[in-house]
Amino acid sequence: MGFFGRKKEQVPPHPRQEPRIDLPLTLESLKRVFQDCVDFSFREIDLAGDLNKRVAAVFVGGMVKMERASDYILRPIAQDEALRETDLHTAFRRMAGGALYNLTVDERKTTDEAVSDLIAGNLLLLFPGEKTVLSFNVGTEEKRSISPPENEPAIKGSRDSFVENLRTNTSLVRRHLRAPELRIKEQIVGRQSLTPVDILYLDGIADPDTVRQVEERIRNIDIDALLATGNLEEYIIDDLHTAFPMVAHTERPDRFCAGLAGGRVGILMEGLPLGYLAPGTVGQFFRAPQDKSNNWMLASVLTVLRYLCVFATLLLPAFYIAVVTFHQEMIPTRLALSIIAAKRDVPFTTVFEVILMLIAFEILQEAGLRLPPSIGQTVSIIGGLVVGTAAVEAKIISPAVLIVVAAAGIAGYTMPSQEFAGALRIWRFILAVLASVAGLFGMIMGAAALVIHLSRLESFGVAYLTPFAANGGEQVEGRTVIRQPLPADKLRTAGLKTGNRRRQK
């Protein structure tokens, strides 16, 4: 029985069919598979003009680069006089051996493989009497060109970013990390999307157990289509009952490679211009990509500022509610008088004002994100400035609340990971409600619950609070908050259990 006594509907089983297409590998089978598909194409070609030696070329329109197929596959078949002298079986063997100028040629034995190749943009050659087919990679290479990262802008760093094409992305990683120890393993995820997902790591550095866990978790994903980040992310993380991101993602190959060099395992997938780094630890989300490009002192100051901003974005509204409603003696007298003057004639309680403003802030942010940038900016200006000012002048909201909520919101934007900032936003609401019930006691209890929650989280066997907790007895917390000069930063994070801890001489 489900909620409210309603009977739970039995979900039918969803077994995976193996093989997916249980048909012999013939042209007829392929026609049947691609029945009612307008882009499915085939043509029969006479081998060197000999009407008795006819082969079939099969491809999917739009997936194949026509010039390449015509020039390097069809033309030699039609014009190579040497093929006229051979029988079909010999011609098949010669073509498999390199008679046709193509970088890759595979011999496919099953209909599943052949169909998969067709969809990937290969051209199949079917010879009468042969049980296998030749598959030539003549796919189009239409893709977005590599452009500067949009969400992680680089001031002093490489300006390339991942694109939607998986092989381009792995090539970008190869160009940054030329070590032959870089391993790239591939798995196909999604029954309908058949999306290639690559697992990247540096052999000898990454923890083999983490690699194994990543492979295993991806292998166990049995979904229809891998089209969005959540389709991967939510299936591989350890704990779904948290708002905090359990794996970090980046669109910058240099940052991705730094993660691999640090002992993390990377995940790239076809169709998404970003890469994941596992395991995810809390310190990782406080690091901005340009931190290592900045002077270490500046980077340290900025990191400390980010940590302070986390406290501000998380606690400021709750703290304001607590002191204004429960602990007025904590407010400096002049500030208290100023708050009283500002709150005169405002009809709402402090709690309601703060919660209302927090919700309004979220709505504005959400509206700004869903609209085109130019309109989004207009909405932000109208919402933030015009409506905010009007609300204060109309005595609906006190200016102090406006300042507190705006300061808390802006402080959240300093987080390099907006997913982490999003989790803090949720906890900001929880803490504000707790503060409205029990003042500072409630706020502190909420903060304690947050620490307990974070301390229970693990990402691929690594404590989420690493290195603040589970740091292997090393006093490295300070190094996380304050970036050391790079020549002094000799060891990889102990919590990642890397094969080789030393990162430099």
Binding site: Q213, E216, R217, R219, N220, D238, D239, L240, H241, V324, T325, F326, Q328, E329, I331, T333, A336, L337, S338, I339, I340, A341, A342, K343, R344, D345, V346, T349, T350, S436, V437, A438, G439, F441, G442, R456
Partner: protein
Amino acid sequence: MNHNLRKKNKKRAGGGVRSFFLPSLFLSLCIPLTACKADILPPGREVENMALMRTMGVDAAETDGVRVTVSSGVQSKGADKGDEPPQVFYRDAGTVSGACLAMQSYGTAYIFYGHVGQLLVGEALAERGLAEALDYVERDIEMRLDTELFVVKGAGAFDAIASAATGTSSAADRLEALEDDAGLMATSATRTVKDVLAGQAQNGASFAPAITLTSGETGNGAGEGTDLSAAGFAIIKDNALAGWADGDAARGINLLLGQVDADVLELDLPGGGKAALRIVGSAAKVRPVFQDGTLAALEVSCQVDANVAEAPAALDLSDDTVRRRLNAALVAAEEARIRAALDLSQSLDADFMGLKKWAGLSAPWHWDALKDQWAGRFSRLEIRLRVEGDIQRSYDVKQ
């Protein structure tokens, strides 16, 4: 198999959250049903529904008991609406707590004492005893121990608060100005309730700044009217007013305690004219002298630093003789001030400056003897005073 294990782990983790979270949530929701909410959770109060009291005065009531007077500061009415004059409330009751509670019936706002920054005690009550007022500050959850304490000389706290509460100013404003100026005045200093209580507990005596109501041209720019002015110190012994220290005695207290940020000493020169020395620092030491195990004397030495603030053009400060003469005059003047403070302390038999503790710290091996003999001997103890002066700089551009 590993996958199954992971699924089991995930299930366990999720189940753990549910098994912990849901009962906790359920129990939390049940809290209001226990009718214990008021006891468990602190009561909330909107800040705009409060009247923040800034100054509290305690006087002896005409009948038995106390009169408590409280005053708010000048409060803005909001944007472009001007200011609200300070509110002054008073109430007679048997105790300070009773009067404060009774005043809650005034008006609609909650009278909040958490921002009381100054506590004034009228002379009559101070003579009767300050224990009641100080005890209230010590025990009340809203009052603070860092509240500044003042004793009103020659009047009651009500008079002081009421006279300072005008349309544009309040007692808090005037007293805060006095606190800010204390560093610039040689005859005053700020003392919190905590300082006075600590002094009482450690030395049996303490002191607090005294203020007085002055009328006529105040000289502070306020024009004709009644004003609050600093009037030295009130000496408190056994929780009651024992005497006043003003003039040289008040300056001597500040010199001994090193609270001389800006005292100007005017000296008459032998050849006519005046020189002004700005006292910029003082440091005192107190040492007990024992003879055959008996406390025989107290040696008090004080180093006073001064700068030449003004000097007649004819005065040649490069001349050693002139400088020595100035120095001697400085030493004589400051010695007289310190002596006046020490004499007052001995005449009242009130160690309000903590000389015993001071002496004990400089000779801890005599502490037991000092404790035993101090009470009976202090008032007639020989105090050997030695003052040294040092005129440091003259700011003479010609040099």
